[in-house]
């Protein structure tokens, strides 16, 4: 590129040429031409100064967000790591707690199941009535022993009476057969 031609170019073109020079994007011959121009042309010198200043400012502007986002990324990574660690801990604790609750429930539940296994229809009926009485003890007034209000207030359900009568019938049938 001839010096004479460069001297006639616009400021915008000179800025672009100066940036290419600063960025080391010019071919060798054009670098020499621009070097020679710098020796004599104030506009070219000023354009090069602008190109360097602008590029330095871009680096600075891009560096700061990069550093900040780097910190944010690291913070997010730390938080994510903490979160994963916390989740794993929570899961383990929940599992242990559930296990303990289950064991506790079993230990409380087991004797009851043994005690409520009925051996006859009469036992089932009596347990039903007794259970109903226990559950409602706080809310229901104590019935008068002289009357039959308890049965009326806590009747044995029909399905239970039907089951009992069927069971009773079956037992009677078995006795007839065995006789």
């Amino acid at each position: 590129m001839a010096t004479e031609r460069i001297e006639n170019i616009s400021d915008a073109d000179l800025d672009w040429l100066a940036f290419q020079y600063a960025a080391n994007e010019l071919p060798g011959a054009e670098v020499d031409a621009f070097d020679r121009l710098l020796a004599t042309d104030e506009r070219a010198c000023a354009a090069l100064a602008r190109a360097v200043t602008l590029s330095q400012a871009v680096v600075a502007a891009e560096s700061v967000p990069a550093r900040i986002s780097g910190v944010v990324h690291r913070a997010v990574a730390v938080r994510a790591s903490d979160s994963r660690r916390f989740s794993r801990g929570l899961l383990a604790a929940t599992t242990v707690a559930c296990g303990l609750l289950f064991v506790g429930w079993l230990s409380v539940r087991a004797p009851r199941e043994e005690s409520v296994v009925p051996d006859s229809a009469a036992t089932v009926a009596s347990l039903w009535v007794a259970g109903a009485d226990e559950d409602a003890a706080d809310e229901v007034a104590v019935p008068d022993a002289a009357t039959n209000e308890l049965v009326e207030e806590d009747p044995v359900p029909g399905w239970l009476m039907a089951a009992l009568s069927e069971q009773q019938q079956a037992m009677e049938d078995e006795e007839i057969i065995s006789d």
Binding site: D15, E42, A49, A57, S63
Partner: protein
């Protein structure tokens, strides 16, 4: 190398007609002057006795020039020399020349005169260093900021903020090219390959972005 500082102290010496210029000692190194007898050490400071004559610029005038043009000259010298240290050295030599011979320049052409002196000092340094710039040529900007804070005076925070605003309003494709070329120092050819677009498109985007950023920078 001692650097001429814009806030260098001055005092009249007892010897009539001599001006004492205090040079702040920034770093160790040889004095970049031939006349070493003019320099004397006082503790951590180094002072230079210069005789004022009709041909010399008043130190206050040199300071004024420094305040006005040093940043631009430093950027120019960095662009020529690709080294912040060399640029600083050439800048110091430039203002020493300005103190000695600045009176020969016209006031309205002093900037061009300073650029020419700076360029000559840069060429002198190149020859002294005997380094082939072609062989080691690199971009002019990256290394200079590595050890300099943004608001150090070499690059004003205001300038950075203006450019940041300009970057924020650039189209995404232009901003990406700017970032890849300037911040990541990839060549246009590398960017074209990486983005899978023609080289001409990369150059066009870069040029358009630079024009917008230059307008933002020049809007002060």
């Amino acid at each position: 190398m001692q650097r001429l500082n814009s806030d260098c102290g001055r005092a009249k010496d007892t010897r009539s007609g001599w001006q004492l210029i205090e040079l702040t000692t920034h770093s160790e190194g040889p004095i970049c002057r031939q006349d070493r007898d003019r320099f004397k050490h006082f503790g951590s400071h180094q002072v230079e006795y210069t005789k004022l004559d009709a041909g010399q610029l008043d130190p206050a005038a040199v300071e004024e020039l420094y305040a006005q043009y040093a940043a631009e000259l430093r950027a120019f010298l960095t662009g020529v020399l690709r080294s912040a240290d060399w640029a600083a050295e050439a800048l110091q030599s430039t203002f020493m020349k300005a103190a000695e011979a600045g009176h020969t320049a016209q006031r309205d052409t002093i900037k061009g005169w300073l650029f020419r002196v700076a360029y000559n000092e840069a060429m002198l340094l190149r020859r002294k260093q005997e380094v082939d710039q072609r062989a080691t040529r690199k971009v002019a900007w990256q290394r200079n900021l590595d050890h300099e804070p943004v608001d150090s005076g070499l690059l004003r925070a205001e300038v950075v903020e203006r450019v940041r605003r300009g970057l924020d309003v650039l189209p995404a494709d232009q901003r990406l090219v700017v970032r890849l070329r300037i911040y990541e120092e990839k060549t246009f050819a590398e960017i074209a390959r990486e983005l899978g677009i023609p080289l001409g498109t990369v150059v066009t985007r870069m040029r358009a972005a630079l024009q917008k950023l230059s307008r933002e920078l020049g809007a002060e």
